[in-house]
Symmetry: C2
Subunit: 303 residues, 2 copies
């Protein structure tokens, strides 16, 4: 392994992720005012473990988690096959967030930052933030994307357009012909060529992680006391059904976790507290629900 | 194609399945007393189509479907790869049922009978019935299995033990380390060697299909008026969450349908009207809920 490529260590990265988890939880508990995250450390079957922190029945957050993990072990067979890796061991660390809101006018939000390293010294970063409003508000979607673009632009002007499109492609539900929400940014396999680049990528994923509270809290605070009808609550539960479909059928992190014997309860913290399915539900033409469906497509330039 | 192997035609099979659908719906509407199944014909993108019949908000049935389809077209690539098929066209017909009940003391039931044929003349049958009680009642599970065994024994004494084990293996949720329910029978790729055997397999799947009302209605009627608490309703919604997990993550029919551009609303009629997820929910030791979990394992000999 070339020392020039090693750069920042996995210990430093997982430590920073752990601190990021704490920082975000402090911010969320303060914003919510009524919610308290639990703290549950767990051990991986091979090496390492995680700290699962979930919350339920808050003022803003109905159910959610801000999870940290740092695990290692033998390289899974499908990683060897799919990524042509010959190294025998892996290390992976990350922070994953999904928050389901009480109020249908507060969006579902998801954030993930992750780092993967092989015993041979290959390493990469991945992550992103995306927003799933039950009711799309274009101005909010624009402000959300502006925050992400400004984070990206501090590192590379190509990042936002590339990672925005990647999110459109990734958070897509083919069998529904709709995107999960208004997208955001998504990136994977950011492989540094040298130590300097590794540091820069690390700083980038940390900047993404640190932008999380800005991406969520102002929107949540501005809408969490908004009145809502029973009809709007039903619509929220139907949209959560779609969220569950995406996560269980397509989400790579979820399937990777379930198939490699990850900790099920931590992985599936992303599932909604309550979800609804109705046969062939179609909102009335011209209704806010129909308008939201009209926005759930790839390639919308929110900014 | 050898005429001796052709036996009963695909037209005869799909016609019988269509009649089976009708017969079951008549029986269910009569038993429920308050529910009316909708009738929605649809066309497949290539050849054929189906008749989707769903119901909601009945006395017994909260949401469910009894769907028929008969479709054909170009052989999907993965069928060629996974089953080493070189034939260019396929035909598939079947009836699929999932019923979610209002009352937590009435189980979820699933039934499927299906027939698949290639343009080269290879054909096979598949199907099964399985029961997912929110609260396992061993006597009911025994009676349910006895009905299935008696249907199987009219054809082959090996069928019940083989197909019972197949159901245990198939309806298993690895990431939860539990079976979906109390199992039943499941079989696939019943390939006839000659016309006589084809007729016999056809008669067998029809007998399975015709046993459906016996497998469901008496249990549903005996429990649909049972009083239940809010706690039992919550447990039902949690079990439905597991049902959704199995169908979206593992069920081959669901994934096959979604991945081959099947009709999403017909495929996903299996999803519950309302489902709940709670982080790391553990029932109190010794409670009826904990007892039910104790039964959700492979290899229970109910009879």
């Amino acid at each position: 392994m070339n020392e020039d490529v090693s750069g920042v260590t996995k210990e430093a990265i997982s430590q920073a992720f752990r601190e990021l988890q704490e920082e975000i939880i402090v911010g969320l508990e303060k914003a919510d005012g009524a919610v308290k995250f639990t703290t549950e450390p767990w051990q991986h079957t091979t090496t390492g473990g995680g700290l699962t922190r979930v919350a339920a029945n808050g003022r803003i957050i109905e159910k959610g988690g801000v999870n940290f993990s740092a695990v290692g072990g033998s390289m899974p067979e499908f990683m060897k096959t799919n990524h042509q890796i010959t190294d025998s061991e892996f290390f992976a660390t990350g922070v994953s967030i999904v928050l389901h809101s009480v109020n249908p006018h507060v969006p579902i939000i998801h954030m993930n930052v992750r780092y993967f390293e092989t015993s041979g010294g290959t390493s990469w970063f991945g992550g992103g933030i995306d927003l799933t409003p039950h009711y799309v508000v274009p101005d909010d979607a624009q402000r959300f994307h502006e925050i992400l673009r400004s984070v990206c632009n501090r590192f590379d002007p190509d990042f936002y357009p590339r990672f925005k499109q990647w999110a459109d492609d990734y958070f897509f539900i083919p069998h529904r012909h709709e995107t999960r929400g208004v997208g955001g940014i998504f990136f994977d396999h950011l492989k540094p060529d040298n130590a300097q680049e590794k540091t820069r990528f690390f700083q980038f994923v940390m900047a993404v992680g640190r932008s999380f509270l800005d991406c969520y809290v102002p929107f949540a605070l501005s809408r969490c006391e908004a009145p809502f009808s029973q009809k709007e609550k039903v619509w929220q539960l139907l949209r959560r059904g779609r969220y569950a479909e995406f996560n269980l059928v397509y989400d790579r992190g979820t399937r990777f976790g379930l198939e490699t014997g990850g900790r099920t309860e931590s992985i599936l913290m992303s599932l909604p507290p309550l979800a609804r399915w109705a046969y062939d539900f179609k909102p009335e033409p011209g209704s806010p629900e129909a308008e939201t469906l009209g926005w759930l497509r790839k390639g919308v330039e929110w900014i």
